[in-house]
Amino acid sequence: MTLKLDGVSKVVNGQVHIHPTDLTLEKGTMNVLLGPTLSGKTSLMRLMAGLDVPNAGRILWNGDDVTGVRVQNRNVAMVYQQFINYPSMSVYDNIASPLRLMGKPKAEIDAAVHKTAELMKLTPMLGRKPLELSGGQQQRCALARALVKGAGLVLLDEPLANLDYKLREELRVEIPKIFEESGAIFVYATTEPEEALLLGGNTATLWEGRVTQFGPTPDVYRRPVDAITARVFSDPPMNFLQVSKTGNKLLFGDGQSTPATGKLAELPDGRFTAGFRPNHLEIGKHTADAMKFVTRLTVTELTGSETFVHLDHHGERWVGLIHGVHDLPIGADLEVFLDPRHVYVFGEDGALVAPAAYALAA
């Protein structure tokens, strides 16, 4: 089973919702669509499902052109952020409903409902009504309805967004296990980088209607192809610094400089954007060639085991995530250090010029 988007685009009232997109999703894979609100995640899913017809391009299912084939005639299941169950039916009947619509024999329905309920840990709740369930169980019921059909393509549009934090954490662990057993193509839309990382599989990063990168999730995270992908796939956001390299120095701000060490020494002279993740900023010098920056501390936030420092570096706003609990004076200068192995270098057009050395080793 393969789902292939071949130059698919969508324009609504003159506004481009999806730029021409090529994407191939294989059987038995989890594919995350990661991007902020309005980046095109839902539009792309609607095209995949057949709820919308593309303006250009083709959608191929196992090599067959299904562009324009209506959703009813495709082998698709979809789960939305607002979990939809039939409130007057029992959990059993909710899960059975798609199979009854398909006119399956009773015994087959019964077996499929029990199997799916077992997988979703709903067996003890089969006799209850959805409103007698917790939020997490209700969403599992909606998921079970999507899975029971054995659809080849399962589309999940921010399915956990309305759930409590802890429930979300539990379902994020369960969903990859469930999908592994089903063998379908899963597509999962989310705004949260952490969710993408926990789900694993492949990730497509989206920005303003464009897929900026598609590949195995940890690869996209560690080896983003451009600054936009790095920004989309970083929470807290990636920090940036405009630099110009001259000889063996990186110049920035108004006249500050730091030695260009490590891989950065190999760059040609010119202007670049350096990017680094908050967890790689340090408040002690841990490596001999670490670069030093003097910043102003604007806000600190403690998580109990870590400290977020919000910094002003000559007008650029940075976030640092420092291990341990640190009581630092707000408004004072703070020296921070950065191992050059953790720095991504982007060109003036945003394209990656040099990946962070640590990511190549990972």
């Binding site: 917790s134 705004t191 967890n279 109990g304």
Partner: protein, 367 residues
């Protein structure tokens, strides 16, 4: 700004509550210090919104009093309490401009237009909407509308308290960062008493000086983020705070050691005889895989979540989580787990027991 006192407060939605189970909010005594930032943290249905609604006057408690700076306001309507509130979903006037929405609470109080204009500018800068001041609210995204709600909550400087009920639920992760940071620096600058209700631990911990953790209608711990992390007073706090939460493993405790299936784990202090269900609690951050020492474990899966790895493992039939560094090697020979003795807590019937000589902690205090 005011100190808010909850005196013998409890609430049941039933007309004639019989036992404790009938109370959505179980009896509670607490002072919210003037000028402090609090988070009220718990899962859906734990009673946190009930408590917030009692403080704001949307709900009258079935028992006890609410005092603002010593003055009884238990039955006073919301309007008399002089508080600002921001809800989960945006409340904006669609037909008004962004400017007029932000100005609304000030004009209502009859502030002069020069002050209104200056204050609206300041708040618009804080929420990053200076460029949109003359647009109508209609047609803005949910994000933008919620920013207006936040701005309107913050526009008055003379309120007794600012109450937030899950204000960032509809906001994108990147914007969440910005707004949370803005709230935090606003608090730093003006020192409003703030109470922030959320189910999201990151929001609670990063926002608040003190976090009030609620579970099943009861306050189970009030503490700084560090206290909640290092010494959860109840296994629920250990589970709820931290991602993944604390590992809780049934054990026998004798003196300075805990025994799990006969294997010993070192503790930071000595313990007397414990009654009831005895468990040890260790956060995934304080557990590490080893090839030579510690308890035997089977690694089930390793999740690479970017800045660290989450190792899902099994230890004598209990599922446990271990956090490993971004660059740590996890080889097939890593078949043991070591706990940092300074960070192993002991629990009897879900409440933390302090080691001998370490004082009593606050176990059971809230119960």
């Amino acid at each position: 700004m005011a100190k808010i006192t909850l005196d013998n407060l409890a609430h049941s939605y039933l007309p004639n509550p019989a036992g404790e189970a009938d109370y959505a909010l179980k009896e509670l005594n607490h002072d919210w210090d003037d000028g402090a930032a609090y988070a009220l943290l718990g899962s859906s249905g734990c009673g946190k919104s009930t408590l917030l609604n009692i403080i704001s006057g949307l709900l009258h408690p079935s028992q006890g009093r609410v005092l603002f700076d010593g003055r009884d306001v238990t039955r006073a309507p919301t309007a008399e309490r002089n508080i600002a509130q921001v809800f989960q979903f945006p409340v904006v006037y669609d037909t008004m401009t962004v400017h007029d929405n932000l100005a609304f609470p000030l004009r209502n109080r009859g502030r002069d237009e020069a002050y209104v204009a200056e204050r609206v500018q300041e708040v618009a800068r804080m929420i990053g909407m200076e460029a949109d001041l003359h647009r109508k609210a209609r047609g803005l995204t949910a994000d933008a509308k919620q920013k207006i709600s936040l701005g309107r909550g913050m526009v008055r400087k003379d309120v007794n308290a600012l109450l937030f009920d899950e204000p960032l639920t509809v906001i994108d992760p990147h914007m969440k960062w910005e707004l949370r940071t803005q709230l935090k620096s606003l608090h730093h600058e003006f020192g409003h008493t703030m109470i922030y209700v959320t189910h999201d631990q990151t929001e609670a911990l990063t926002f608040a000086d003190k976090v009030v953790v609620m579970y099943d209608g009861r306050v189970v711990q009030i503490g700084t983020p560090e206290e909640l992390f290092e010494r959860p007073e109840h296994t629920f706090v250990g589970y709820f705070i931290g991602s993944p939460g604390m590992n809780v493993i049934p054990a026998k405790v004798e003196g300075r050691h805990a025994y799990i299936n006969g294997s010993s784990v070192e503790l930071s202090g000595g313990y007397g005889a414990l009654a009831g269900k005895v468990e040890i609690g260790v956060r995934p951050e304080f557990a590490r895989l080893s090839d030579s020492e510690g308890l035997p474990v089977k690694v089930r899966r390793v999740e690479d979540v970017g800045r660290h790895k989450i190792v899902r493992a099994e230890c004598f039939g209990s599922e446990i989580n271990i956090i490993a560094g971004e660059g740590d090697r996890i080889g097939a020979d890593m078949t043991r787990v070591v706990f940092d003795p300074a960070h192993v807590n002991v629990y009897a019937n879900d409440w933390r027991v302090a080691p001998n000589g370490a004082g009593n902690g606050s176990a059971g205090e809230a119960a």
